[in-house]
């Protein structure tokens, strides 16, 4: 039995998610920032974390975007194979939702039509959409507006199998150290290990959408997440990159099988405005 979902429902939900994600940070991120404020060693660092706390309150109360870079809309669409989409193309519906969300929600239009000619599309479309066909009769949408201060500091490393786990850890620490103040720390570090060149990058992006208080279910990966977070916070970069003990709030790692000859690692860095909004239709 196919279940029918009309594109209007997709449009309306995507629109609302764009506005929600840009004004209200998820509970896990807010809790992590509060914990950081309590443990930060630098007085200036604590002052900055206090500003970030005030910023979140003002954003939600006065409906001012948390950050002026309201991002490029990244959408993960998990489409149940028993869903029939009625009224048009799903991709068009997602983009229409983004268009309405960014125009009607007073969000910044940060997308240019061509990477070199650079003319603004004026409605923040198109979104970057990653589809996955799954079991069931629902569509699960995860919308993550991605700011480019931190996106620009992200990296892919094509390591050799012999580089092993130490090579992977060094890649992550190198990316974070190079990002430093540019990525608006405290940051969230999304890591993808394995797969192919593009697969590891998509996994790193997906890892950023995992709640920051949720560790990997694979024991060695969970250990690596915890060790890397501790080592990143020893770097001294601190809030705003102005020194301190809070450089990252979490390291989220996803893994996938890979080729006998390779060890791809992607490090996708997100600032403290790690926005994501999830809905199931």
């Amino acid at each position: 039995m196919m279940r029918t979902i009309h594109v209007d429902e997709v449009i309306q939900n995507v629109k609302e998610m764009c506005i929600e994600a840009n004004h209200f940070l998820s509970a896990d991120m807010k809790a992590a920032l509060l914990d950081a404020k309590a443990s930060e060693k630098s007085p200036l660092g604590r002052q900055i974390l206090e500003q970030l706390d005030d910023n979140l309150r003002i954003a939600s109360e006065d409906m001012i975007p948390i950050c002026q870079d309201t991002g490029m809309a990244v959408v993960f669409a998990e489409v149940g194979q028993e869903v029939f989409v009625e009224g048009g193309l799903l991709t068009d519906a997602i983009n229409e939702g983004v268009r309405r969300g960014y125009v009607e929600g007073f969000l910044r239009k940060s997308v240019v039509k061509d990477p070199l000619i650079r003319e603004n599309t004026k409605d923040n479309t198109p979104a970057v959409i990653h589809y996955n066909i799954v079991a069931g009769d629902k569509i699960k949408l995860t919308l993550a507006p991605k700011g480019f201060g931190s996106e620009n500091m992200s990296r892919v490393f094509m390591l050799k199998p012999a580089d092993g786990i130490e090579g992977v850890k060094n890649a992550v620490l190198t990316a974070v150290k190079d990002a430093g103040p540019n990525a608006c720390p405290p940051m969230v570090v999304g890591v993808g290990i394995g797969g192919t060149f593009e697969k590891c990058a998509i996994m790193a992006k997906q890892a950023l959408a995992r709640p920051v208080d949720c560790r990997s279910v694979i024991p060695y990966v969970k250990e690596m997440e915890e060790e890397l977070l501790a080592r990143i916070n020893e770097s001294g970069i601190g809030p705003g990159g102005l020194g301190g003990s809070t450089t990252a709030l979490a390291v989220n790692i996803n893994t996938y099988p890979t080729h006998i000859a390779g060890l791809p690692v992607a490090v996708n860095i997100c600032c403290h405005v790690n926005r994501h909004c999830v809905r199931e239709l």
């Binding site: 910023n55 001012i64 950050c67 007073f106 910044r108 001294g236 705003g240 990159g241």
Partner: protein, 187 residues
């Protein structure tokens, strides 16, 4: 040290600022980011006039989100400064008194700050809603077609910034990070 300062300010005032000072700016500043810098730079190369008076000007690397009705501006936090490194030395040599942004600068920019008695200030990245509360007026003065990247004149009141690179070239990103990295190694 926390202090309140009027903008624009002269070189004597700039010289009193020290890397690490937390200051509140009140007065007039201008916004410009990637596209506006590219256009100003090309205008200079072509021997054309700039649309704003650079002498003494404080430039804020920022492109706001649209203002809701009744508000002067939307979310208004700093963008990453290093993308303006290519253009900044030339503008500093023409008299710009400094800039507000976030993130590291090139050695060329640091040298240009020293030789012009100018300062690099940081606002807290990702605090655009909070920072918008210190902007009381915003007006597009050039390159309107660039949308969020147009040059705006802002009236600011108690706008919070931290001095990162002072007129002697001291760089807080290096000193403060080293301090906390070192302390933790000693523990």
């Amino acid at each position: 040290m926390e202090r309140h300062i009027s903008v624009p300010f002269d070189k004597e005032t700039a010289k009193e600022l020290r890397s690490g000072d937390y200051i509140f700016l009140t007065g007039t500043i201008y916004t410009a980011r990637d596209a506006a810098h590219k256009r100003m730079y090309e205008a200079l190369e072509a021997g054309d006039e700039l649309p704003i008076e650079l002498a003494g000007a404080m430039i804020y690397y920022m492109g706001p989100s649209p203002a809701r009705e009744g508000r002067p501006i939307g979310s208004a936090g700093p963008t990453t400064s290093s993308r303006m490194d290519k253009y900044a030395p030339k503008l500093l040599d023409l008299g710009q008194s400094g800039m507000i942004g976030k993130g590291k600068r090139s050695e060329e920019v640091r040298q240009a700050l020293i030789r012009n008695d100018a300062v690099y200030l940081a606002a807290v990245g990702g605090a655009g809603a909070l920072l918008s509360k210190s902007i009381v007026k915003s007006e597009v003065v050039a390159y309107d077609d660039l949308g969020t990247e147009a040059i705006r004149r802002l009236e600011v009141k108690n706008f919070p910034v931290i001095v990162v690179i002072d007129t002697e070239g001291n760089n807080l990103y290096e000193t403060a990070i080293a301090e906390y990295a070192l302390n933790q190694n000693e523990n």
